[in-house]
């Protein structure tokens, strides 16, 4: 908490359990622990990369931060104010400052709405400007994201995936937000287009002073855009560090395996890949102790019983692993990450 700049957004003990409903009476039989008590803090202007396998809870985390999903437990603070309990009406002014960019460039644009209407909608909902000033703003935004003003009259099906993603970015920027959650914004795009969109996001960050939570399963992309990287596994954070530290010296065996799985252009180095055996366990019934113990190459007895906590080793480098921080080590005072 004694960080020099207070975080723009902070979440403490963020948890989301989805009930699994069965039978005709909607009894809640069990819960899927999509996100299980994670802490996040992003200072203004930073890009935090959030990586993990499909189903590890990274998308749920992102959507909770912008309040598209209500957390089961935990606190969310935006500019120091708690927002997790706000209702739709009191949340609306806050929404102006946080936006989200989606993965699927096809599903994220309403096929029945013109680009003009799509980009102007946030302005309309938040009652910013009149119809004419909105038209002008849309035209400006289109230029900002590298499209042409005349594109405003067109419909989504007339655009390519990369162009659609630019429209989605323009929509998110329309209200001049401070925080943008990028939920796998380039995963659905061709590699060459990915680079363009990533560079666009980086430029926009500079021009608009944006703070990003960048969710991706692509460690290469995350490395390119992030300042810090957070690795999630099965609803838990296993490692957080500054980008350089994480890529140079990954502490958690899961992070090590993920990094070794990044495709390398050099065939001689490929053999060093560490393959994680097995599949990701079900978040409805997560393993006891360390959640990674079923697949960890270094599993110890203690891993099956005691859950490791996120602890700081090197400065600003946090990991949740008994190998890195043996259980006997006294726990440092808990601090937010």
């Amino acid at each position: 908490m004694s960080a020099p700049t207070p975080p723009l957004i902070e979440a403490v003990g963020l948890t989301k359990h989805f009930p699994v409903r069965t039978g005709i009476f909607n009894r809640s039989a069990s819960v899927v622990r999509a996100v299980d008590g994670i802490d996040i803090a992003i200072p203004p202007g930073e890009t935090l990369g959030l990586v993990g396998e499909s189903g590890c809870g990274k998308t749920t985390t992102g959507r909770m931060l912008v309040k598209l999903i209500d957390p089961t437990a935990g606190r969310i603070l935006f500019e120091g104010k708690r927002i997790e309990g706000l209702d739709a009406a009191t949340m609306r002014p806050v929404r102006r400052h946080m936006q989200i960019i989606f993965q699927d460039p096809y599903g994220s644009l309403n096929p029945r709405m013109s680009v003009q209407d799509t980009i102007a909608e946030p302005l309309e909902i938040l009652k910013i400007g009149d119809a004419r000033s909105r038209r002008e703003q849309v035209r400006e935004l289109l230029e900002v994201v590298g499209l042409a003003p005349y594109h405003a009259e067109r419909f989504p099906h007339e655009f390519s995936g990369g162009q659609r993603q630019r429209i989605g970015i323009a929509r998110a920027l329309a209200v001049r937000p401070k925080l943008v959650v990028c939920d796998e914004p380039v995963s659905a795009l061709d590699v060459s287009i990915q680079a363009q969109v990533i560079n666009l996001l980086k430029d926009l960050q500079k021009d608009f002073g944006l703070t990003y939570l960048f969710i991706s399963h692509d460690l290469g992309v995350v490395r390119h855009i992030s300042d810090r990287v957070m690795v999630m596994y099965l609803g838990k954070v296993v490692e957080v560090a500054r980008k350089r530290d994480l890529y140079a010296d990954p502490q958690h065996p899961y992070t090590q395996a993920l990094l070794s799985a990044i495709p390398l252009p050099d065939p001689k180095r490929r053999s060093r890949r560490k393959v994680i055996p097995g599949d990701i366990p079900s978040p409805a019934n997560p393993p006891s102790g360390c959640r990674f113990h079923t697949r960890c190459p270094h599993v110890m007895h203690v891993c099956r019983e005691v859950e490791p906590h996120l602890m700081q080793g090197a400065p600003h480098h946090w990991a949740a692993c008994h190998l890195v921080h043996p259980p006997s080590t006294p726990r440092p005072a808990p601090a937010s990450v």
Binding site: V66, L68, M98, Q99, G107, S108, N110, P122, G168
Partner: protein
């Protein structure tokens, strides 16, 4: 639109429905005969140049009766479609969008759908009293759950789309999301469904009239023309056969129309033509 015109079945359907609609709208221009005027001298005239469709047991012009009958049959069909569109959309949208209402509304719909269509329609008209307005109400009530199910299914899909999430991220309310994002993307299956409902309604209305539960004689509808003619089917088959054929052609036309619309509007069912 060009795809529609290339769809042969759709074109056939449109022509059939178009002809019947044309006949219904311009009934008073296409015949000078009064469909209710009886004449003893002209009973059981077979089709001829003077009486295109022949005459019935009261000597009334069948041509005039079928045309004016088309007017009423199509009006009733249209009435059912309009009521269906309103209530089916309302119930379907509420059930699909609000999870808390889904179970209740859909169980009620299931209860309605558990009865055979005609039986339920007969029951409702019998309770309300036989008339064409009550036939519309009964048929609308019978078919609304079907439309509601179709709407609900597409609302369930549209609701989960990311553009809905995007709108929600800006603080859009439920009403706005339903109106701007969900409903416009559910129109295609709804239009197709309503076309089929039109066909069923015209057919069911004929059944109700045939049973004497629809429009009352002497007002002609296809159902009661067929009902009145059935006693003379051996001596004067044209009285029943011609309105029967017109009815069949109309229902066929509407079904083809619906099929064509579905093929064109639903990209997942793209069929080679």
């Amino acid at each position: 639109m060009r795809r529609l015109l290339r769809h042969k079945l759709f074109v056939t359907g449109s022509i059939l429905v178009g002809l019947v609609t044309f006949g219904a709208i311009f009934a008073d221009l296409l015949t000078i005969a009064d469909p209710t005027r009886m004449s003893v001298r002209t009973r059981f005239e077979p089709p001829s140049l003077e009486y295109i469709f022949g005459t019935d047991n009261f000597g009334r012009s069948q041509w005039a009766r079928v045309l004016y009958g088309a007017r009423l049959s199509l009006m009733i069909g249209l009435g059912v479609v309009v009521l269906n569109a309103i209530f089916g959309t309302l119930v379907g949208a509420l059930a699909g969008y609000f999870k808390s209402l889904d179970n209740i509304l859909m169980r009620v719909a299931d209860a309605f759908m558990a009865f055979p269509v005609i039986l339920l329609a007969i029951g409702i008209t019998a309770a309300l009293g036989p008339s064409s307005v009550n036939a519309v109400i009964a048929l609308a009530a019978v078919y609304t759950p079907r439309t509601a199910r179709v709407v609900r299914a597409s609302v369930l899909v549209a609701r989960e789309m990311e553009y809905v999430q995007a709108a929600r991220a800006c603080g859009a309310g439920d009403w706005r999301i339903i109106r701007r994002h969900v409903m416009p993307n559910c129109m295609a299956p709804l239009i197709v469904q309503l076309t089929f409902i039109f066909a069923y309604a015209v057919l069911s209305e004929a059944v109700l009239s045939f049973l004497g539960l629809g429009a009352q004689p002497p007002t002609p509808t296809w159902g009661n023309i067929i009902a009145e003619g059935r006693q003379y089917i051996r001596e004067a088959p044209w009285i029943t056969v011609i309105p029967g054929l017109v009815l069949a052609a109309t229902v066929l036309g509407l079904n083809l129309l619906g099929d064509g619309l579905r093929d064109v509007l639903d990209p997942r069912l793209k069929v080679q033509q």
